[in-house]
């Protein structure tokens, strides 16, 4: 098995899956009806990416595990997502701060996978990414509009948006982890995306009359299966029905 590619693909898949799981919570809880529709749409896009990526991870592994086997039958120590996406979304400001940063990262990541300067591009990841680029470009656009409205809206929204950004910011660094050298030229090097991603996000933050947080990065570890305590609860809820009926078809 190509372990490095399996781990890399699993990381992309789990980021999208855990993010979709959080996004699904908002459906029927958004500040307005249009936003219920939009957040459902974004969650669905992320879930679609996760399904393609998990299916591919299963193929790389070669042990016959399906998307559902990987999503439902792994414990948290085997999830490879970053901590950014697994933490609860405590209010709409947090949801938009999270979406702005995560979707901007995904946009650069998927673009590089699809059309970046890669000598021995992984064609399956490129195909998955090419479809996802259009989706996440919309997510960035949606989050940008909300960060502008909330940052430059009322005093209260400004304060809440700033707190949300401050809370998310320490978790950005983990997105830009180093690339396993055996994957050089085949997939996007996430550490090389840092400047472009942060520059895009900073531009929106500044235009929204908010301050770019100056906070030390949080402890990483998600890519090695070292998560916050929140992930266990998220997975317990997501997996319990599937696990309660071993081998059943749904």
């Amino acid at each position: 098995m190509d372990t490095a590619l399996f781990e890399y693909t699993g990381g992309l898949a789990d980021d999208a899956l855990v993010s979709a799981q959080r996004m699904g919570w908002w459906i029927s809880r958004a500040p307005e009806l249009e936003e219920d529709v939009a957040l459902a749409n974004i969650g669905l896009d992320q879930l679609g990416q996760a399904r393609n990526l998990l299916t591919y991870a299963g193929e790389i592994e070669g042990e016959g595990r399906s998307e559902d086997d990987l999503a439902y039958l792994r414990d948290e120590r085997y999830f490879r997502n970053v901590k950014l996406v697994e933490r609860p979304m405590t209010d709409f400001g947090v949801a938009m701060a999270r979406l702005l940063t995560f979707a901007t990262y995904q946009l650069h990541l998927y673009r590089t996978l699809a059309t970046g300067d890669l000598g021995e591009r992984d064609e399956t990841l490129a195909a998955i990414a090419a479809k996802a680029v259009k989706e996440v470009a919309y997510h960035v656009d949606h989050a940008t509009h909300w960060v502008l409205r909330l940052g430059d809206g009322t005093e209260e929204s400004h304060t809440r948006m700033q707190s949300a950004l401050d809370a998310e910011w320490p978790y950005l660094e983990e997105l830009f982890g180093p690339l396993d050298p055996v994957l050089t030229g085949r997939v996007a090097d996430r550490s090389a995306l840092r400047d472009a991603v942060l520059s895009d996000v900073r531009r929106v933050v500044t235009e929204a009359t908010l301050s770019v947080p100056e906070v030390p990065p949080a402890l990483g570890g998600g890519r090695d299966g070292l998560h916050t305590e929140h992930l266990g609860y998220l997975l317990a809820e997501m997996q319990h029905l599937h696990r309660s009926h071993p081998g059943a078809k749904w």
């Binding site: 699904g24 500040p31 078809k249």
Partner: protein, 331 residues
């Protein structure tokens, strides 16, 4: 009082003396010729109010209906089912949106309608006051509840009020997909493990009678139906629609391999319909009065989401006002 969404059982249709009296004869002629009433047309005040309440109740039902199904998004047993369910609940939000837009063509404001829902002055379909206790309930809601809704809503595609009729065309297409996905969930469960089949049967047992009650009281106890039919809003009586639903559903239950919790269901050759047992409407009236299993939870969830989003909506308005001022000062 409300029954199936897209039906009207209300009573507060007092004419508004401030509105000019329309040309009753012209209106009657329009209806007699099966013409469509459009927003700018003259219409009797009671017709307008009946439509506002019916469309608003329909919209509210779509919105509150997001909750029982949304309850299973996080726990859907496969990623495919999760995606389908998210798309379905998103559809319900979309239906709510264009139904509110249809109501607004009658001169009301969506914010006022939502306010009336929150204050309890307008209702939503009682069916959504039942809990979704297992995954199979998602299937039962799709098959039975959406099935009953379609039975009621297909004739509304020919409703005399144009914007409502046109909204219904699109809603019915999507509801038809929802009903098939519910049927497919139950089919998969009933052909799965014994535990899955038992889960499916239990869900059908719990949702069957409430689904029949969605059509509202019997015809002889439904005083407004006759007028709505004369106005071309309603095309078939409650009991006729209920019978149509039973006739459609019984053969489907056989295809599913699931029983219906009514020993009196049998084909009646003479009538050309299925007979079914007497409905105990006391339960429906209790749920309507607010004593259903989830009335309080549904409204609390809706109000909480609305209240917690207030700062976001206020900020969006403030931002839009700032932008407008900036544009003005440039111009």
């Amino acid at each position: 009082m409300e029954g199936v969404y897209g039906n009207d059982f209300g009573t507060d249709q007092q004419p508004d003396p401030d509105r000019a009296a329309p040309d009753e004869a012209a209106f009657a002629a329009l209806l007699a010729g099966e013409g469509r009433v459009e927003p700018r047309d003259d219409m009797p005040e009671a017709y307008r109010k009946t439509l506002i309440r019916q469309i608003a109740q329909h919209a509210h039902s779509e919105i509150i209906g997001m909750q029982p199904e949304g309850n299973w998004i996080s726990r859907a047993p496969s990623l495919r089912r999760k995606a389908i369910l998210m798309a379905k609940v998103q559809d319900e939000a979309g239906h709510g949106l264009y139904l509110y837009a249809a109501a607004e063509t009658l001169g009301v404001d969506r914010a006022d309608l939502v306010d009336q829902l929150h204050s309890g002055r307008q209702k939503y379909s009682s069916i959504f006051n039942y809990p979704t206790l297992t995954w199979a309930d998602v299937g039962a809601i799709g098959w039975l509840v959406d099935g009953a809704a379609i039975t009621n809503q297909v004739p509304l595609c020919r409703c005399s009020y144009g914007p409502y009729a046109r909204a219904m065309v699109r809603v019915c297409k999507e509801e038809s997909f929802h009903q098939r996905q519910g049927f497919e969930i139950l089919y998969t469960l009933s052909h799965g493990t014994p535990e899955q089949k038992a889960m499916a049967q239990d869900a059908v047992n719990r949702y069957w009678w409430p689904s029949l009650m969605m059509f509202g009281p019997p015809d002889d106890d439904s005083p407004n139906s006759a007028r709505s039919m004369a106005w071309g809003i309603k095309r078939f009586s409650n009991d006729d629609l209920r019978q149509r639903f039973v006739d459609m559903t019984v053969p489907q239950s056989e295809a599913l391999g699931l029983g219906l919790p009514d020993p009196e269901i049998r084909w009646n050759d003479e009538r050309g319909h299925y007979d079914y047992g007497e409905i105990d409407f006391t339960e429906l009236f209790e749920v309507i009065k607010g004593n259903g299993p989830c009335n309080a939870e549904r409204m609390a969830h809706k109000r909480r989401a609305y209240d917690e989003g207030a700062w976001v909506r206020t900020a969006a308005e403030a931002y839009a006002a700032k932008r407008a001022r900036a544009t003005e000062s440039v111009a």
